[in-house]
């Protein structure tokens, strides 16, 4: 197989038609539902999923749910509304801050942050990041906590295990409450919940089990992120959404998906991953991508480790038989 810079180029028109056909068939014949509920965040993945569903089912059979909470960027709602207006589906806003406060999300998270930075108070923002030099070294993923105050002063420390686990467990309440909210809207209409993760998120485990991973149909879970961008261009979604840097929109300080999880820009990661899956020799991948062989090997190792380490996220509940 020849590996070139264009190996992940798709025929966006053909892929769109095939996906629309599959969405129609699966919702009707496998799920026995009559419409689709999509959580819309103003990000590229949920945008493409909502646009595909509107095209496949008709906009009157799609509802987009915006689920901001107090750490969300206001831009997320603005972009989601713009998307809904363009594709003609109904947009409903559900502010989940109160529900999250009731679950102790913010309190539990802040308690864990204070175990690392006792001076932290809710007027500061916070984020978690991983090393982004993964091509330079075969490094493990570990996590830094950064807090920032309103005057821009920031402090960063590597996170001890207990604090890391509590911050993640608290923050995951956001995705799980969003899933619960989506199922409310789906069940009330007898519609299906659409999962919006792409291949990068799904297979490397960048999702919350029974949170954003909880859905009836995941139409783009087999597509690399850079292929999702190609569909977005073809579907003519709002330019601001295509140009927006993908963030987690989970932490109070803005953190890109590259900083938080992937550690690498999407083009390089997707191309390396494709090369790894197709057993492209490191020497060939290095030549095509303008990297050293060593960098390719580090990239391969990092992707493999993430896929293996998050295998359990993709498992259904196991039966003890």
């Amino acid at each position: 197989m020849e590996f070139t810079k264009d190996s992940l180029k798709i025929d966006a028109a053909a892929v769109t038609e095939q996906l629309c056909q599959t969405i129609r068939t699966q919702i009707r014949t496998r799920l026995h539902k009559t419409g689709a509920v999509v959580g819309v965040s103003g990000g590229i993945d949920s945008t493409v999923c909502a646009a595909l569903c509107a095209r496949a089912l008709g906009p009157e059979r799609v509802v987009g749910i915006m689920m901001p909470e107090k750490d969300s960027s206001p831009l997320s709602e603005q972009l989601a509304r713009k998307l809904a207006a363009q594709f003609g589906f109904q947009a409903i806003k559900e502010d989940i801050s109160g529900g999250l406060a009731g679950l102790g999300c913010y309190e539990r998270r802040d308690e864990a942050i204070r175990s690392v930075f006792p001076e932290f108070d809710p007027s500061w923002s916070a984020k978690i990041t991983i090393p982004t030099n993964i091509l330079e070294k075969d490094t493990f993923n570990f996590f830094h906590l950064t807090i920032e105050n309103k005057s821009g002063e920031s402090r960063t420390k590597r996170m001890p295990l207990a604090a890391y686990l509590q911050v993640v467990a608290s923050s995951n309440l956001k995705q799980r409450l969003r899933m619960t909210t989506l199922y409310y809207h789906a069940e009330k209409r007898n519609w299906a919940v659409i999962g919006t993760g792409n291949k990068d998120e799904h297979e490397q485990g960048f999702f919350v089990k029974y949170g954003d991973g909880g859905a009836d149909l995941k139409p783009i879970a087999h597509l690399f992120k850079i292929q999702v961008y190609q569909l977005a261009e073809y579907l003519k979604v709002p330019r601001e959404i295509i140009d927006r840097t993908p963030t987690t929109d989970t932490y109070s300080a803005e953190v890109t998906q590259e900083e938080f999880f992937f550690g690498l820009d999407f083009y390089k990661m997707d191309m390396l991953w494709y090369a790894l899956e197709h057993k492209v020799p490191a020497e060939k991948a290095a030549e095509v991508l303008g990297l050293t062989v060593e960098q390719v090997r580090h990239g391969y190792a990092n992707i493999e480790r993430k896929v293996n380490a998050t295998e359990y996220l993709k498992l259904p509940p196991l039966h003890a038989v």
Partner: protein, 91 residues
């Protein structure tokens, strides 16, 4: 502080078995085997492992030392811990 290599090896194996294999000492892994590739620990396990190194041996890997070459097998751990302890002793 120095630790006898045989003792260190035994202590680390016991920690790995107790912490990640729920005490199942029937699981066979060589001192050279990668914990990650053999499904013994994952990325969260690495954090648990480094916490143990800090607590038990006062060895804290720097960010630049969070590498499989230092942490991803019994042999790698033994070499890493001894190197760090020797460096501390030499100061």
């Amino acid at each position: 502080m120095t630790i006898d290599q045989t003792v260190l090896r035994k202590e680390l194996r016991q920690f790995i078995t107790d912490s990640f294999l729920i005490g199942d000492d029937q699981v066979v892994f060589a001192d050279t085997d990668s914990f990650m590739k053999n499904g013994i620990i994952d990325s969260t396990g690495v954090l648990e492992l480094t916490a143990h190194l800090e607590e038990k041996y006062s060895v804290t890997p720097s960010d630049d030392e969070m590498l499989p070459a230092n942490l991803d097998s019994i042999d790698n751990l033994v070499n890493f811990i001894q190197r760090k302890l020797s460096a501390t002793a030499a100061q």
